[in-house]
Amino acid sequence: MSFRKLSIMIVLLVAVAATACATPTPTPTATPVVVKETVVVQPTAKPTDAPGSVQLNASGATFPQPLYEDWAFAFSQRDPSVVINYAGGGSGQGIKDIKASTVDFAGSDALLKDADYAEAPNLQMLPTVAGAVVLAYNVQGVTTTLTLSADAVANIYLGKIEKWNDPALVQLNPGIALPDLPLNVVHRSDGSGTTNIFTLYLSAVSAEWKAGPGAGTAVDWPVDKLGRGQGGKGNPGVAAAVQNTNGAIGYVELAYAKSNNILCSKMINAAGNVVEASIPSTMAAIQDAIFDDRLTAIIVNSKQPDAWPIAGFTYLIVNKDYTDCKKAEKLISFINWALTDPSAQARAAKLLYAPLPPEVVPTVLATADKITCNGQPVTMQ
């Protein structure tokens, strides 16, 4: 985690330096003015709020935390009156915090349940970016990229495939000499949105998984019962466990795997094609995402021909109504900026998050713009 944070800091500093060189001064006229039906953002007419006068506090998912921190930094440079503190802590923490109104918004990879909405009908989820989950492995002597199928992954995590030279794996990887080596199956030990996406995928492709462990941010792993499971804390923990155990396989975020050059498998997707995990294949997976009226979508096992099958959205959870009008106003403008401004999208791409499909963005923004303040529409200044 610390390595990752450090590298993000460096990327961030480089990005700042680069933008500082490219554009002399970010004058309001130089930034693109986004005009939509309901809200007109007019930076030129902005009366100056005192710097740091509006504090937006947030907590929640750690998966998008690097991006949200980066966005928060960039946004407060644009509008110095806003300070956004995104505290992380996990999706569960974020959901608890926003229900208790200790934060102004939350981040979550996990979807709110019916019970949550019943308890707090004021909540609204808004997708921001998508991420993918990949399978990293370490088999001594195998340096080529392995290919896995949905059944193979499910059976590995169910504990049915015990050794690397299992016929199912050999058949998927002709020409690769797989050794007679027991599989050590690594999963996340901490509750995690990554686990949620991964187990949603397993539940989608395997009836046995769905009936057994099911999907969630932490599950009861069947391989643990067989003595061949292992839990690692965070993406770095899983990656370290995989890299230090001969015969290990584990799931990590695409962004983490890419930025650390971790060897990960190809997958056969629902369309039957062999695909490699990448930002384009993640974007292919979210192309046909169907959002429900809560603005959430499950995109595992996408049927698109080029889609990476293990992917998911991450969300902001906001209130539909705020008591502090300034906070509501700044939050709406932050969401608008984050989802439409090219520089914000560039920051997302740089950190290897897949942007929302363009046709979804207006719906999300329209929902964000419906946020009210004490029941009244928010007047944007």
Binding site: A110, S189, G227
Partner: protein
Amino acid sequence: LAAVKEMATMDTIQTRREHKTTTASPLSKALKHGDVLFNATIALCALAVLVLMIAIGLMLWASSAPSRSAEGWSFIFSTEWNPVAQVFGAAPFVVGTLITSLVAVLIAVPLGLGIAIFLAELCPLGLRGLLGSMVELLAAIPSVVYGAWGIFVFIPSFVTPLGNWLMNTFGDPNNLVQLPIFAGPFFGASNLAAALILAVMILPTISAISREVLSAVPRSQREAALALGATKWETTWQVVLPYGLSGILGAVILGLGRALGETMAVTMVIGNVAQLSTSLLKPGYTMASVIANQWGESRTVLYSSALLEIGLLLFVMSLLLNILARLLVWAVARRTPEQTE
């Protein structure tokens, strides 16, 4: 002037003596001396610890109510931990915590005591300061650094060969000698790795305090033993160590306390598998680790209260162990009356 001062001090000493003899001294005079104020402040400080302990206990008790009423006593004995199905049993964590801590103490006590005896009895003076501060420096290393070192250095270079050897020698079902505590399969991250890391982590606590205790043993004791013709070994083993035994026990208890509550380093090397197992070579889980791992994502009330109930169990367990240890120290102290003077 000096004489006057002396007179004054004599005077106060006298009045103090008078206060002691008279049963009810006037409040104003007592206040003048500041004793009452001082005593009250000190008492408040001591009381704060008690209040804090009670407050933590009450918080854990109150916030674990949903889990306590749902699971009852079976919470402690049930081995199933399934957040998806909302079934929570803490047995794997309780057992994992006890096993790793006890094994760690078993390894660290002889080592730590050896270090302490060497530093206090045998070490050349020039080396003593350097070695002593090195040992204390070990205590200053953050546990996450221990964990990272465990994953990248300690497990691959030491634990894995040791574990493989143990498994092949004692754990192989085809062998004549087979011990279930060394049964495989073994992948590196395990109860053994956690116990060894913990042993390293509690080593400075045990050795630093034991060294202080041994240094405090009066010279006359050693001299008397040596004068009777005892060797260095006999002096250390039969005179110095028994003299400092209750202090050394105190050091062991502090070490055990640290091992029980250690979170980060253990989480990084234990494998985090919520299964009850008799093998040291299999991955396990501890109480502190499961709270640290799963708190952030505990979505439901029952889930988070189950985690807090584990916290309550850990709290009670530490408390019981401390009381037990205190009794042990008392028993030992009573057996060696010369120490209590």
